[in-house]
Amino acid sequence: MKNLFLINTYSQSKKLFFLFIAFILLQVFFTYKSVETIPFFNYGMYSAPSKVYDQYEVFEFIVNDEPINPLNLPMLAHNMIFKTTSRYQFLQKHQFEDPIVKTIKRRLHAAMLKGLMDRAISSISNSPNIENSFPFWMVRYLEKVMKLVVNDLQINLNVYEYDEHYHPKLVESHPILTYSKE
């Protein structure tokens, strides 16, 4: 039945037919490679087998010496602060040397585009200066979404364990970012 659609498309518009065939083949390719390149997306979220861990990490945001509840923010804003902090922490673990630089060099080298290397690295990767610029951005963003002035900000990484009734218990905490306006 699906083929009937393609057959009819071929009779109605050969251009669209070949476009669809190319799209299908490229989608199969990117699915096989498990990578995404617009407009070829993979919908395998939450399909990789997960395992239960002993501990789980949650970020804590302390604004002007008061912990905030990030779940009181709109969902997209809450996602923004959690996911960007997670990326910042990832870069922190790599001493703020963005690992994507190696991939950029490999891809451009393979594509014989060495001349564009410096421009690509500066545009596509995070420079080590992100260590200093990110806290300033987080403050600006929190001021915008929370509509208050942020004089002090601390972001902690809190580690939790679940008890037998699946209530999380805090086991340790350490700061990953500290900012003060003074």
Binding site: S50, V58, M75, K83, T84, R87, S123, W137
Partner: protein, 281 residues
């Protein structure tokens, strides 16, 4: 204009109306470009398209200058309203598509996660960029097949990766997904639902089996349109359940559901291009 040609206008009102609602939601959530406070941290991951866009420096230029970002957002909203008022304008639809893709790349680059909920907006604009009613109908059908692909492939990923048969998979996922909710809002309704499920894990396994079955059922959409109403209902229920159980908001993906609506079927309409019906199922 004949009544039969009004179906493109009707579909356009629905699609562009939905896009406008999405933009209003994003504005209220502080997610338009001018509301991101000049973000600095880029996350293109391995996506070549993101790389190419970042290489042009357009994302940095737009996001780092508030006035430019604001103009971008206002133009985005104005374009959408323009498409609503002039549904048959191919030029407006093409520009809106470019704007939507640009927004998608810039927003997801700076949010640090390449989510999929906005993709429906992008794909559903595509048919309206087509020149004639014939190509519009063909691409409208193609978008409907893409929706079926989204859900069916999601099920197949789970089957081929083995998680569909792993009784502990959704348990582990819930523990990881909801740690922040259980820490910050343990008294909330959803936290209560999650803890009830975690303490009755056989229910989680049943739910997961139902999820995979629902997603797999979209395979039928490749062969017949007979069950489109059922698929639409399942899609709405799936999105609602995803929000309640996983706290993932895929509401914007519901725009794809317009392609499943009964009156959206293009097989019952004639066009000025050809007196023959296009049989597509």
């Amino acid at each position: 204009m004949s009544k039969d040609l009004d179906y493109r206008k009707r579909l356009g009102y629905m699609v562009f109306g939905f896009v406008l609602l999405s933009l209003v939601y994003r504005w209220l959530s502080g997610a338009l470009l001018s509301q991101l406070a000049s973000p600095v941290l880029v996350s293109p991951f391995a996506d070549n398209f993101f790389w190419a866009y970042l290489f042009t420096d357009i994302p940095r230029l737009l996001s780092n200058h508030f006035v430019l970002a604001l103009l971008f957002d206002l133009f985005f909203i104005g374009l959408t309203i323009g498409c609503l008022m002039r549904v048959r304008s191919r030029l407006l639809s093409i520009v809106l598509l470019i704007w939507a893709v640009t927004y998608y790349v810039i927003y997801h680059n700076y949010v640090g996660h390449h989510g999929h909920s906005f993709l429906g907006i992008i794909f559903m604009i595509i048919p309206f960029t087509m020149k004639g009613d014939k190509t519009f109908r063909i691409t409208w059908e193609a978008v409907r097949y893409y929706l079926c692909f989204i859900f069916a492939s999601a099920a197949l990923w789970k089957i081929f990766r083995g998680s569909a048969f792993d009784g502990d998979h959704l348990v582990a996922t819930l523990l990881s997904q909801h740690i922040d909710l259980l820490v910050y809002k343990p008294e909330s309704l959803i936290a209560g639902i999650v803890q009830f499920l975690l303490n009755h894990q056989w229910m989680i396994q049943v739910i997961f089996a139902i999820v995979v079955a629902v997603q797999l059922s979209f395979l039928t959409g490749f062969f017949t349109k007979k069950y489109d109403r059922i698929l639409l209902t399942l899609m709405v229920l799936f999105v609602a359940a995803d929000y309640l159980v996983m706290r993932i908001n895929f509401a914007e993906l519901l725009i794809f559901g317009i392609a499943l609506l009964p009156f959206a079927s293009v097989t019952n309409h004639r066009t000025t291009d050809s007196p023959n019906e296009l049989s597509v199922s």
